[in-house]
Amino acid sequence: MSDAAVDFDAAHALISQAQRGSRRAVDRLVREHEGWVRGVIYATTGRADLVDDVAQQVWTQVWQRLGSLNDPRRLRAWLYAVARNAAIDASQERRRRGAVGLDFVAEGLGDNGRHGPVRSAVGGELRETLLRAVEALPALYREPFVLRHLEDWSYAEIGGLLGLSVETVETRLVRARRLLREMLQGKVEP
């Protein structure tokens, strides 16, 4: 039996157990997928401070609706849809309440968010500057960029999740890097 078949059987068994209400199986499911789910939430909202709350909502929804997942092979796609929808809802809710969002992020980056950061990146500020730069990326580029850097996923894996070809993923990553380099010119020592 191939590795892929073994993986699929294991995943199928895990999901079946989770659907039957096994707490241990759900815990394992969360541990296996939490990293990239958090990455999707961050990439969609562009807000690191929303990630914890939205992730909690996502796993609550997963717990409630896991029974509706018929094909375990579609688990990633299904989780992605749940996470992305929850992240979009949270962003809209935050916007309705008038909280600061990406505009605030862009302000910190200069005239239109495309130029170099106003503040000098020193110590902890470097972290803030880098985060703001990533958050200022168009969501189109941010999503593959975050998945690649957070989880070390291959282009094929990223494309599989986002429904993109490998070439498109590659192009978006090249453009994301180019934009980040423009935004952060001289802020990170080679």
């Binding site: 241990r24 815990d27 958090r38 985060l131 957070l150 291959s154 890097r177 180019r178 990170v188």
Partner: protein, 178 residues
């Protein structure tokens, strides 16, 4: 004709993402060796990538949580620790000297308070004296964990009730009604 900078950026990006073929790796290596600007661009991208990866991971990844189900050895160890603590507590209980509870009358007398029910200092922690010292009829109501000592006061209808909770706290409480 393709843009050389774009080609270089694509190669660098592929290299940083570990997606280069051996041929592309050789091509990039040759490029960086012959072109100092290309090498500087590579260094810049590599440093940015490294820093951003570190920041994203430290920001977005949660600290690893303890597994919901502990391993067998840890569960067993915990049972042993709890059992050992319980044994020590029981040994200490039996080894400690048993002093009869006191009514707090000494403290009350020192304070010049006449009533049985005046709150003695450190009420609740005060040990009760032997009932014989009161020189009054004393009724005992006892259960395995709790004993009540009922002492009639000098005034009619007034009693001193001493509740002794032996096992959990060894403390005493005084109630007027019973």
């Amino acid at each position: 004709m393709s843009d050389p900078t774009h080609d270089l950026e694509r190669l660098i990006s592929r290299y940083l993402d570990d997606e280069c073929t051996p041929q592309q790796r050789r091509e990039l290596n040759a490029w960086l060796q012959r072109d100092a600007r290309a090498a500087a661009l590579f260094e810049e991208h590599a440093a940015l990538d490294r820093e951003i990866k570190h920041v994203l991971r430290s920001t977005l990844r949660r600290a690893p949580e303890r597994p919901a189900v502990l391993p067998l050895w840890e569960r067993t160890a915990r049972v042993f620790v709890v059992a050992a603590a319980a044994c020590l507590a029981i040994m200490f209980w039996f080894a400690s000297p048993r002093e009869p509870a006191s009514t707090g009358t000494e403290a009350s007398a020192q304070a010049g308070v006449q009533s049985w029910f005046a709150t003695p200092p450190n009420a609740g922690d005060t040990l009760v004296e032997r009932p014989e010292q009161f020189n009054r009829p004393v009724n005992w109501v006892g259960r395995p964990r709790t004993e009540w000592i009922v002492v009639p006061s000098g005034k009619p209808g007034e009693y001193l009730v001493i509740e002794v909770n032996r096992i959990p706290t060894r403390s005493t409480r005084v109630r007027q009604d019973f």
